[in-house]
Symmetry: C2
Subunit: 322 residues, 2 copies
């Protein structure tokens, strides 16, 4: 096979990854837990073509060069090495959701790329091998490889740092209602951000408390205990943003509308609605709830000043060939 | 003397006090540095009157009862004990600025009360004694007793925990332009908030880094080095709010307009204006700058959506009799 197409979903982390133990291999400073976002999709076709003089990438129909092409070529290099292949590749990738605004498009992109490229090269990688490969392109991409609810064990090196499912997509019907408050590119990308984590006087304390939060979150998911889930998800989000804003230089990703959504969600929960939020390295707010409450949450979010639109997702499956 | 009137200024902390080692005596978990806010004034008259059957308090012309009267009586009890006095007191206190909205009105209130009550009881307390007495009413009130730029040494007990000047009001002409984004009472008062500090997994790390920030801030003030001052003041603010929002339950004092002001101030500074912010346990933002830039800062703040009004203050003197 010299061409293959894969589909992958981005993911939202409930227990966040922030800071690397090894930036080159993207070995994280702490383990993390996430859910794939079914409904938001990246579809990537990779063709190894002997006629090409170098790798080519089109993203949403636009030819790419520079850094984004380099990041893709770095993953293709790993695949070529494993497959003892010397051809360059044509990569066409399309998202059905906004790209580069903090909705983890790099996670689904590198998960889909890893599967499409390895299949096109004739490799049949295991889920763990694919997860490790995706991680090399973008850390959190390793979590988009397995399906449903996923844990990324930090590991100690390239071999031991990969993700696996802790519950299938059908285990718990959660919805992620993503309040988009800005579609502007982030002032500081995640890769640069991770490098600042250690400059915060709070990062070590955040890391020391992480095993407790991982256990608490894993248990809440397995028990489908939304109240416990909400408590730990929001606390973990606050801990990551606490580290971000106390790093040097400080990273303040929140916008006024980010805070308006946070306040609204806390008020709704006080009034009995099962709902909580989490925020990645950007201003947009992921509002989580049982799907039975999603319609109410979405209509509430659209009324908040500064919310441009709301995307919705439910637990997504693994990265797969199409 | 059985009646006396004192005037005091609130203060804004550059290095924040959050969490108590001893809640009863209000011995703080860490030392702090502040500036008195000249222009914002509390004026308090205390009269010990043999005709009274209990303590009476009027605040801005309104008779008070319950908790606020109890807190005042507790300080009067200490004064009565020191003076071997058995009379009850009539206390009349007035502020020329909004009360109970996070502009440290309790600091100026208890500083003025301590001086007026002790003088009315015939006591001539030293500055350190007055500072210790004010601390019993409201921790940060001890910083309003000395003039100008003030450090509150945490101390280890009632005797060693008090504040002193590190620079006179004339040392550095800073302005505090207070952007009022809400005048609603705080959902959680500072006394309750302090009790939550230890529940944050980040408080110990914040405390461990405090000596560094104290030294850095003290040096920046003594050197009138605004750039260094801005860096440490904002980081200290972020550290306190990081602890607040990661406590159980979380305390999120910021409003959307709080964040709009923070972003604006960071942008202005990037563009060369000497300005920084700090935020107490409330949504209002203290925007600090050399007084030469204050007019420009105030007019910029009034243009931000959600800013209701802007108060301005310059370094204030000590609590004094009038």
């Amino acid at each position: 096979m010299t061409t293959a197409t894969a589909q992958a979903f981005p993911n939202i982390a409930f227990i966040k990854y922030w800071g690397n133990r090894d930036a080159h291999f993207r070995i994280p400073s702490n383990a993390s837990i996430s859910m794939n976002l079914g409904g938001l999709e990246t579809r990537t076709q990779v063709t190894f073509d002997p006629a090409l003089k170098n790798d080519q990438l089109t993203l949403n129909g636009k030819p790419q060069s520079g850094k984004s092409l380099e990041r893709v070529s770095a993953v293709l290099d790993l695949v070529r090495q494993m497959a003892a292949l010397q051809r360059f590749a044509r990569v066409e990738s399309n998202n059905n959701f906004p790209t580069g605004v903090g909705i983890a498009s790099s996670a689904s992109a590198f998960a889909a790329l890893s599967l499409a490229a390895s299949a096109a090269a004739g490799l049949a990688l295991s889920e763990a091998e694919l997860s490790r490969l995706a991680r090399r392109g973008s850390g959190s991409a390793c979590r988009s490889v397995p399906g449903g609810f996923v844990e990324w064990q930090a590991g100690e090196d390239d071999l031991t740092s990969y993700a696996f499912s802790i519950a299938s997509p059908g285990h718990w019907d959660l919805s992620d209602c993503i309040a988009i408050v800005s579609q502007a590119p982030k002032p500081t990308g995640s890769t640069e951000g991770h490098a600042l984590a250690a400059s915060s006087p709070l990062q070590a304390a955040r890391l020391a408390d992480t095993p407790r939060r991982l256990d608490f979150c894993r248990r809440a998911i397995l028990d489908r205990d939304f109240e416990a889930f909400a408590e730990v998800v929001e606390q973990d989000c606050h801990l990551m943003h606490a580290v971000m804003i106390t790093s040097t230089p400080p990273l303040l990703y929140w916008q006024p509308a980010t805070l308006a959504v946070m306040q609204a969600v806390m008020d709704w929960r006080k009034n009995g609605l099962p709902v909580c939020y989490t925020i990645d390295a950007g201003p947009n707010v992921h509002v989580l709830c049982p799907t039975a409450s999603a319609a109410q949450v979405i209509s509430g979010l659209t009324l908040i000043t500064g919310v441009e639109k709301v995307l919705a997702a439910r637990p997504g499956g693994p990265t797969h060939l199409v």
